[in-house]
């Protein structure tokens, strides 16, 4: 950028095309990167701080515990990233996850279907909820907040009704628990592996495919996108369905992790996941966001929570500290944006 300022701008360089891609092109690309590295810096600061504060923090057992505890919120956050980039929101992911877990339980425990069928069934349950959300939002034109709030209540109720208001235990289902707690890669719980694989998948979807392009386009200006010949209604349904599928996976993972489907779980998870997405630099106004950011955001949250526990900070103080750290983390980012703008 400085280079450009130093050189007097001549006709040739200014009038676009002929000019070789100037350095500035790197800028908007780097922008997301920088944003992420800022979030990343927060993460590193937290890790260093806690390592000094408690000798028990930086042990493999604890780190893998942190990763494991990131898995569920992280998977939810990945799916929601798509929705938030379109300028929407999904409040149904928490209880939707629970309903997916309960359905997995029904399939595997009550109906005794084969493992793979039950797992796919659970994931598709999430996809179905996402589809209904998308339909309500794109076709019936309900505001995303209210459509997914309603779905949150419905999923919560259905999870209780379907499970008969009691946990469904997977203890009889051979191998199910391993979905979360086994280790295909020695030392790394499978849930974490799933998180990383899904993050990669989400990254590819978001940055390499048509779906991703339209996700950003809809979030930037939905009407302009529609007038450009994009069937925005169809794509919004697809996007919410994708988010729903991630919710479904989260349901299976939490079921495996707890070795049970807990029908009353789930409320509050949506806010945590959304917070992770936003801390990672995705804008609720739509049109801007990244998967890597979301991953870092989710890690910040779980490192923070774990660190405070390891330090034996009193429970009632933990929320205060988390709130303040979130403020600081996001403020740093806002500061950078302001500097950029001036």
């Amino acid at each position: 950028m400085t280079a450009m300022n130093a050189t007097p701008v001549t006709d040739q360089t200014r009038v676009g095309g002929g000019a070789p891609e100037p350095r500035r092109s790197a800028k908007s690309f780097l922008r997301t990167q920088i944003q992420q590295s800022l979030a990343f810096a927060t993460l590193v600061v937290l890790l260093v701080f806690f390592s000094f504060a408690s000798s028990n923090f930086f042990t493999w057992s604890n780190i893998s515990g942190i990763l494991l505890s990131t898995a569920v919120i992280g998977i939810l956050a990945l799916g929601t990233t798509f929705v938030i980039i379109t300028g929407g929101i999904d409040l149904s992911i928490g209880t939707g996850m629970t309903l997916a877990a309960v359905m997995t339980g029904i399939f595997l425990v009550n109906l005794e279907l084969p493992l793979i069928v039950g797992v796919i069934g659970g994931i598709l349950t999430g996809g179905l909820m996402g589809f209904v959300n998308g339909f309500n939002i794109a076709i019936l034109r309900l505001p995303p907040f209210i459509a997914t709030l309603a779905m949150m209540l419905i999923a919560q109720g259905l999870a209780l009704v379907i499970s008969g208001v009691r946990p469904i235990y997977f203890s009889g289902v051979v191998g199910f628990k391993n979905i979360a707690l086994g280790s295909v890669i020695p030392g790394l719980p499978n849930a974490v592996l799933i998180l990383f694989v899904l993050a990669l998948l989400a990254y590819v979807l978001l940055s390499k495919t048509l779906l991703g392009r339209y996700t950003f386009a809809i979030g930037s200006n939905e009407e302009a996108t529609r007038l450009s010949g994009v069937d925005t209604r169809k794509w919004k349904i697809v996007i919410y369905t994708v988010a729903g599928l991630f919710t479904g996976v989260a349901g299976v993972v939490i079921g495996a992790r707890l070795d049970s489907a807990q029908p009353q779980l789930g409320t509050g998870y949506e806010l945590q996941a959304i917070a992770a997405v936003i801390i990672g630099g995705t804008s609720l106004l739509g049109g801007r966001g990244s998967i890597l950011g979301t991953l870092i955001g989710a890690l910040i949250m779980s490192v923070l929570i774990n660190g405070l526990r390891i330090m034996s900070i009193q429970t009632e103080w933990q929320n205060v500290v988390i709130g303040v750290v979130i403020l600081i983390a996001v403020f740093t980012d806002a500061l950078r944006q302001r500097r950029d703008a001036s």
Binding site: M1, N5, V15, R24, K208, A224, T225, L227, G287
Partner: protein
């Protein structure tokens, strides 16, 4: 007291990657209209934004009434008597016209707003300005042109010493433009200094006293009224000579093959029995007053709005178009008149915008988008349309108004539709670029495409169209061959209110 009102010297301003202004100067006298001209991206709007406190200058001085002033916020500018009509609409859509005009200056009774007084004040103002709008109407219900009139009314309500107008007429038809010019004359008489930015060269001679030319952010020179000569100005602007093309002859390119046939199209609000044909290789102009329904026709055809009981045939086959994506898959593209609201992804980069309508061409069977080819294409358009941008990955919001408009045009060129509906395609585009776009449109029809061009600039309609559809009040009142058409005739049809229709 000297007659000089405003003097600006040595102004420089740079944005990351762009030197928008470099040592620019100009002077403005009381009761004078100074035109500021230059190509798209020359720095006109940036300079005005500095004067109105939106941008801060890097260097330079501003003297108002001979005193150096520091304009650091819109509020300061207002207090100093500098008022601006923005190039891009800057209204609060959910508020009424009156509320918009007097935002920040509401009449009050202690804590309480005096809404009736507000409406009365606005009504008086609008009446005084000869603008026929209901002060209680919500701005979101207005067309672009009417919104522009509201912007004008708002700026005039300040009784400013210096009034800046950044392309006030780009969305207006001739009639509203006349209204505006009458206002400008009155303001001049009362001693207001006016800075007037426009790409419509014929306006310059009508109302301006002096013209200052910018090119690439640099001051080129100032011409006095007596020196005013359009070709000279254009040459100063673009640094080369531009030939004006000739009017087309009616069936010069067009064949008799009908590619688009519209029959009996109605909308609940406005359109009545719209029927016309578009032929292969033809530019079909649409003329009419503001609000005649031209935009509405286009939106109804492409399914952006619901229509009732009309039939649309493409290449002889009746088609059902329910939404814009259907239209595009049938080969119809629509360029909206409102680039900011309906045309652009402002926060995304130029490349994304150019490729938005044609992304599928770069997508493989698995849904992966291959960016290299697409980027190459974007670069080509940036070059051929002379879009002034640091790169194709610059944020579109940061482009000048005219260059944003070119990006929208590029989007539709990239889509390669057989039928293109261009709604005010040259809005905010400089003279040189306009000629290039005209040439481009001619090339397109020569290559067998067909174009509907909606424009409020009659000369432009006359220059380009093979045939001209004239609308009034939601109906088609006449379809003229180019040879038979002139401004007077079009105006005649455009002001017919009844059901008369001639073909």
């Amino acid at each position: 007291m000297s007659n000089q009102l405003l003097r600006v010297t040595g102004i420089s301003k740079s944005f990351p990657g762009v030197q928008a202004l470099k040592d620019v100067q100009f002077e403005l006298d009381r009761g004078e209209v100074l035109a500021l001209v230059g190509e798209n991206g020359a720095g006109k709007s940036s300079l005005m934004k500095i004067l109105s406190g939106i941008y801060t200058k890097d260097e330079g001085s501003i003297f108002l009434d001979g005193v150096e002033v520091n304009i650091d916020s819109p509020k300061t500018a207002q207090a100093l008597g500098v008022s601006i009509i923005h190039q891009e609409m800057n209204l609060m859509a959910h508020l009424t016209i009156a509320q918009n005009i007097f935002i920040g200056r509401e009449p009050r009774d202690g804590l309480f707003l005096r809404e009736r007084a507000l409406n009365r004040k606005a009504d008086e103002l609008l009446k005084r300005l000869g603008i026929n709008l209901d002060p209680k109407a919500l701005v979101e219900t207005l067309t672009v042109a009417k919104q522009q009139m509201v912007e004008i009314a708002k700026a005039l309500s300040f009784d400013a010493k210096v009034l800046i107008m950044d392309e006030p007429t780009s969305a207006l038809t001739d009639v509203e433009t006349e209204t505006l010019f009458t206002l400008i004359e009155a303001l001049k008489r009362s001693g207001t200094g006016i800075i007037y930015i426009s790409h419509r060269m014929d306006e310059l001679r009508r109302i301006t006293d002096r013209v200052t030319v910018l090119r690439d952010g640099e001051y080129i020179g100032t011409l006095q009224k007596e020196q005013l000569d359009i070709p000279t100005i254009i040459e100063m602007m673009v640094g080369r000579h531009i030939e004006e093309g000739a009017r087309p002859k009616a069936r010069e390119h067009s064949s008799d093959e009908v590619v688009l046939k519209v029959e009996g199209l109605n909308t609940r609000q406005l359109l009545k029995d719209i029927s016309f044909e578009l032929k292969r290789g033809e530019i079909l102009g649409f003329a009419g007053m503001m609000g005649a329904g031209r935009t509405e026709v286009a939106r109804a055809i492409i399914g952006a709005d619901l229509s009732e009981g009309g039939r649309v045939h493409i290449n002889g086959k009746q088609v059902k178009i329910r939404q814009p994506s259907d239209a595009v898959s049938h080969g119809i593209g629509y360029l909206s008149e409102d680039r900011k609201a309906y045309g652009l992804l402002l926060e995304q980069d130029v490349n994304t915008n150019v490729l938005l309508a044609s992304l599928r061409d770069y997508t493989d069977a698995l849904g992966f988008v291959h960016t290299m080819k697409g980027k190459q294409k974007s670069r080509e358009y940036v070059a051929s349309l002379r879009i002034k941008t640091p790169s194709i990955s610059a944020t579109t919001k940061n482009l000048s108004g005219g260059n944003q408009q070119k990006v929208v045009i590029a989007k539709w060129l990239a889509r390669d539709c057989d039928i293109l509906i261009f709604d005010e395609p040259t809005r905010g585009i400089d003279v040189g670029a306009k000629e290039e776009i005209y040439k481009l449109l001619n090339d397109l029809v020569a290559a067998g495409k067909s174009i509907i061009m909606i424009s409020s600039e009659l000369p432009e309609v006359l220059r380009l169209s093979h045939r001209i559809v004239v609308m009034a009040n939601g109906r088609i009142t006449g379809i003229l061959d180019n040879e038979d058409a002139d401004q007077a005739k079009i105006m005649d049809y455009a002001t017919r209110m009844g059901d008369e229709r001639e073909l």
